[in-house]
């Protein structure tokens, strides 16, 4: 069946195109609105301390306040901190308005 006034494009196609355009605009606006929530996401890190024992062996444990490279470590006889580094954990998603962090399970 021909469209109104003999248009080559059927009317139902025009309707679909219009609906698709409105849908795309709505999606883009929703995406911009969710950008505020994504903005507040914060990458968290886990810190580890590497210790060299008096016998030359090395061990790694979680960082403790007061650890520093070159400092003594009581974890083993003759222990000395030789390195401290960090590893990223799974991203922490922020709560409403990005103000209240909600902790997720961290990966080792």
């Amino acid at each position: 069946m021909a469209g109104v006034a003999g248009n080559a494009v059927p009317d139902w196609v025009q309707s679909i195109l219009l609906l698709a355009s409105l849908g795309a605009i709505a999606y883009l606006m929703a995406r911009q609105a969710s950008e505020a929530a994504r903005m507040a996401e914060q990458e968290r890190v886990q810190a580890f301390t590497e210790i060299e024992c008096g016998d030359g062996s090395r061990k790694t444990r979680e960082f403790r306040s007061g650890d520093f490279v070159g400092g003594e470590a009581a974890d083993c006889p003759g222990g000395r901190v030789v390195g401290i580094y960090t590893v990223k954990v799974e991203e922490e998603k922020a709560g409403r308005r990005g103000l209240i962090p909600v902790k997720r399970k961290s990966k080792s």
Partner: protein, 368 residues
């Protein structure tokens, strides 16, 4: 003839198209776009304000936790602390003037913190200094963005608003990095920029360190039959020391005893380009140090004065990685950098030579 639904939709579509076309001529599309940009900037500005306020609260918390006095007053005074750059149209003694201004700033901030934290040790005070500097930086970023937004709105400068909106993702990214870095410095974690001092620490082995300059230490060790003088900032407090002044002093002292170093090698962190791997190592010529001028020029002047080769070794990382906790990739790259130093020293100097290696960077969490 009865109208059908498709007829109505078609008529409305054509009217809408005509209306949009006319409004475009009147500039309504531009005003709509500016409205959307302003909204976007305002939402991000609110986030920057939250970061700045939280950073300030964290600074107050850190001072209070370490028995600080007049905490609110100290934080408010230092959050707007500024340094006016020296006149550069007359560059003759600009380095000396810049050095003087940096020294005055450093002494003033330290003086304020000494009064505010009389019971704290030097390491805690140095961390407080960095924590406060970051709070000040975040406050400044927030104020600048707020100023540009309001100025653009007042003057109806849509180009300024467009540029600001386009820059906001970069600004937010840098602000979030500074915010994370504040926590890491407060905890005393080594940061990516500490790669240079960590290389120096590894090279020195268990050698005894001695103070050479303000917050700068040196140690002597034998490496591949050469006498290695290793220089770094004094840790584990957060400090970059004065490596240029220290190396200059060491070279002048050696010259008095008739010894000329065969090489000065600086090891530092460098910004990687997008696509480069974190922890990749590169070597070159010159002073690998990111200071505004006073320290770098000391390396260059003393090397040129005595004809000493000035070599550089860098460990690449992003800007975020440089100021936040040292990542595992950078930590692993430090050992590779130590090996590269050995290779450079072994291949470019002779046994019996004296070589100076300066580990440049922030020594937060890295002692001696």
């Amino acid at each position: 003839m009865a109208s059908s639904l498709p007829d109505w939709i078609s008529a409305i579509s054509q009217l809408a198209f005509l209306a949009i076309f006319l409004l475009m001529f009147l500039g309504v599309n531009q005003r709509l776009q500016v409205y959307m940009w302003r909204g976007d900037i305002k939402s991000k500005l609110a986030f920057l304000e939250w970061l700045a306020a939280n950073a300030r609260d964290r600074a107050k918390e850190y001072l209070a936790k370490n028995k600080g006095r007049r905490v609110d007053e100290v934080v408010e005074r230092l959050s707007d602390f500024f340094l006016i750059q020296p006149v550069d149209i007359e560059p003759v003694d600009i380095i000396r003037r810049l050095d003087h201004l940096f020294n005055v700033r450093r002494l003033r901030v330290r003086g304020l913190l000494s009064d505010a934290m009389p019971e704290a040790d030097a390491v805690t005070r140095s961390r407080a200094e960095v924590v406060l500097e970051i709070a000040s930086a975040l406050n400044f970023i927030y104020k600048i963005v707020r100023h540009l937004l309001r100025y653009g709105e007042k003057t109806k400068n849509w180009i300024l608003l467009m540029q600001l909106q386009l820059l906001m993702p970069l600004i937010i990214r840098q602000a979030k990095t500074l915010y994370s870095a504040q926590e890491h410095f407060a905890q005393g974690l080594p940061v990516g920029d500490g790669a240079g001092p960590l290389v120096a620490y590894r090279l020195a082995g268990g050698s005894q360190w001695r103070s050479v300059e303000d917050e700068t230490v040196a140690a002597e060790v034998e490496l591949e039959g050469r006498r290695l003088i290793v220089v770094k900032a004094e840790g584990p407090g957060s400090s970059v020391g004065r490596p240029g002044a220290a190396v200059e002093k060491i070279v002048e002292d050696l010259a008095k005893s008739g010894v000329k170093p065969a090489m000065i090698l600086t090891v530092d962190a460098a910004l990687k380009l997008e696509g480069e791997d974190t922890g990749s190592i590169a070597e070159g010529v010159g002073a690998a140090i990111g200071d505004p001028g006073p320290e770098k020029i000391r390396f260059e002047r003393v090397a040129a004065k005595y004809g000493i080769p000035l070599r550089a070794l860098v460990i690449k990382m992003s800007e975020e990685e440089a100021i936040t906790g040292m990542s595992k990739e950078i930590y692993q790259a430090v050992d590779k950098a130590v090996e590269r130093v050995r290779e450079i020293v072994a291949s470019e100097t002779q046994p019996g030579d004296t070589v100076i290696v300066a580990g440049i960077g922030n020594t937060s969490g890295i002692g001696q």
